[in-house]
């Protein structure tokens, strides 16, 4: 039985490791090296400056401003997305009547499932352009046109509510996938569990909190980590949608945009690389913490 085990292990690993090393790990190693230099990115010359770039990060107000925005996204994005997705998938799977003792989804749930997923298949570039019009600052904007009918003064979404507007788009795009994911999870929860609960007189709401959520915990945790990683990005949306890419005045700046601006626009590639390394450390720390914190024995059923 042990025959061929080692060649098999090596055979299966060699190609992925090679590809990953050449195209991911090696450039990252270079990046770490660059983060210790004053390289401009525009010529092959540079000098090593040790940890100077990292020292500069600590005193850079713009970085801390961006980190605050990430914290907002980190908390709000998974929370709202997962809450909405859980609610919707519960309604889709169990919001309807009872058929042969089992709860069914509301009427039209197939339609909703297709529709909800749509934003997910759109490229961010597309979403950015569309939401430029959704958030239009006058009566020609979709939201402001609706508000205008209620006699509300036009809301300056990108100028005054920039970060929340970005958050809105991220949620809008993400919810659909998690509806599908959670729906799938709910569908595979054995019916007897629900029957038993219903016989005990539990309401749907109780069922949702006592049975559905605990049984879906693993899936929720994965969703949380993935959405958290997303919260450290938001690059493309901010670049496409916001005032002067991260404005007004840094109100919507996020680290990847700072990295872009410092590295490429202002040719301080060494500093940008240090920012990149810091962002990496932040994300990894988050992922590790989230995975650890959410660990809990999965319910057996």
């Amino acid at each position: 039985m042990r025959h061929g085990r080692n060649p098999f292990v090596v055979g299966f690993l060699v190609t992925p490791i090679a590809l990953y090393t050449i195209f991911v790990a090696y450039p990252i190693a270079e990046l770490i090296r660059i983060s210790l230099t004053d390289w401009s990115g525009l010529s092959p010359e540079f000098t090593f400056v040790g940890l100077d770039n990292f020292g500069k990060i600590l005193t850079d107000d713009k970085v801390w401003q961006a980190v605050q925005h990430h914290l907002l996204l980190l908390i709000a994005l998974p929370l709202v997305t997962i809450a909405l997705a859980l609610l919707f998938s519960f309604l889709l799977n169990m919001g309807g009547g009872t058929r042969s003792g089992l709860a069914t989804g509301v009427w039209g749930s197939k339609f909703y499932r297709v529709v909800f997923f749509l934003p997910q298949v759109l490229a961010v570039v597309i979403v950015g352009v569309i939401f430029g019009r959704v958030y239009g600052p006058d009566q020609s904007g979709i939201l402001n046109s609706l508000l205008g009918r209620l006699n509300v003064e036009p809301v300056q979404f990108m100028a005054e509510w920039g970060m929340l507007s970005i958050l809105g788009v991220l949620i809008w795009q993400a919810v659909g996938f998690y509806v599908v994911l959670f729906s799938a999870g709910m569908a595979s929860i054995p019916g007897e569990l629900y029957e038993a609960a219903v016989i005990d007189g539990a309401s749907r709401v109780t069922v949702f909190f006592r049975i559905t959520i605990p049984l879906l915990w693993e899936t929720i945790r994965v969703a949380w980590v993935y959405l958290g990683i997303l919260a450290f990005d938001a690059f493309a949306l901010v670049m496409v949608m916001t005032i002067e890419q991260g404005g007004p005045d840094g109100d919507t700046s996020v680290l990847p945009v700072l990295i872009y601006k410092q590295g490429i626009r202002e040719s301080e590639y060494g500093y940008a690389a240090a920012l990149g390394v810091s962002l990496f450390l932040l994300t990894v720390t988050f992922a590790a913490l989230a995975l650890r914190a959410g660990r809990r024995d999965t319910l057996e059923h």
Binding site: F12, R133, S203, R204
Partner: protein, 283 residues
């Protein structure tokens, strides 16, 4: 409270909420479609819910002709098709071995992969460009595909490894006792068992790679590279020129052209995706 009443209330409130969200999703998309018939003035100054003054299909022609949306769409399909397949094949192989075989450096290799999970691509663009250039793959689909695969591996391995761990041991052992090779065991037994996990990660990868923009811009360049561009580049191209020559209708037409096939494909495969996911989201 009786269960029946409870259900009715829930269904009623539920319907309202679901319908509202559906409206929030469809509204902007519908606007996009209608905007492709409008003039710039109608789009930016008019009532967003108004219908266009004239139904002018010209924008679709312009988007198709000048922006080569058809070609770019096909390029995207080829690149993303091949790279997603490659990602899933290589990713599941590595994840499987890492999840189910004990050997030296197992953990080290696992974390080596997973560490790349959160690395922002645009930071490493310059070093990456140099690597691709040295490999002679600049401006080629092959280069882009390899890079897509490499950057999708951390995510794929991270999730699939967790998934393979949950598969029961008994089946695997039985197969090995029956004399199946490790390779055969993987392709014939384990992969089919892992189908739900594979389906969901495939979707993640498909979407992620389909929507990738920075990598193709950096790697598909040089003379004649326009013919190799992928869809997101095509859209950004019109988006930029819309900013200068202000042909917004063509931009929205291009968006519509880009959206419709995606919607159709998803609606078509919806059932498979759903059932693929169902079997294993909760073990």
């Amino acid at each position: 409270m009786s269960v029946k009443k409870d259900v009715k209330l829930l269904a009623g409130a539920g319907h309202v909420m679901l319908a509202m969200w559906a409206l929030m999703v469809i509204g902007p998309l519908l606007f996009t479609f209608i905007a492709s018939f409008k003039s710039n003035t109608e789009i930016f100054l008019g009532n967003p819910f108004a219908l266009p003054a004239t139904w002018d299909f010209g924008a679709f022609g312009r988007a198709w002709r000048e922006a080569h949306i058809g070609t770019y769409f096909l390029n995207s399909v080829i690149v993303v098709g091949v790279s997603t397949f490659g990602t899933m094949l290589l990713g599941s192989m590595a994840a499987y071995v890492l999840a189910r075989y004990q050997f030296r450096f197992n953990r080290a290799i696992y974390y080596y992969f997973v560490a790349g999970l959160a690395f922002p691509v645009y930071v490493v663009l310059t070093p990456l460009y140099l690597v691709v250039q040295a490999a002679g793959l600049l401006g080629t689909h092959t280069g882009l595909i390899l890079v897509y695969i490499a950057y999708s591996l951390p995510f794929t391995i991270f999730f699939l490894a967790a998934f393979f761990k949950t598969l029961p041991n008994a089946v695997a052992e039985a197969a090995l006792i029956d004399g199946a090779s490790h390779t055969k065991l993987f392709f014939r037994v384990m992969l089919p068992m892992a189908k739900p996990g594979l389906v969901s990660i495939t979707i993640f990868n498909l979407i992620g790679q389909w929507n990738q923009y920075v990598l193709p811009v950096a790697l598909l360049q040089g003379e004649g590279a326009e013919s190799k561009w992928v869809l997101t580049q095509g859209i950004a191209d019109i988006s930029t020129s819309a900013g200068y020559e202000a042909d917004w209708a063509a931009l929205f037409a291009a968006l519509t052209i880009a959206i419709i096939p995606m919607v159709a494909v998803y609606a078509f495969f919806q059932r498979q995706i759903q059932s693929g996911l169902t079997a294993g989201a909760v073990k």
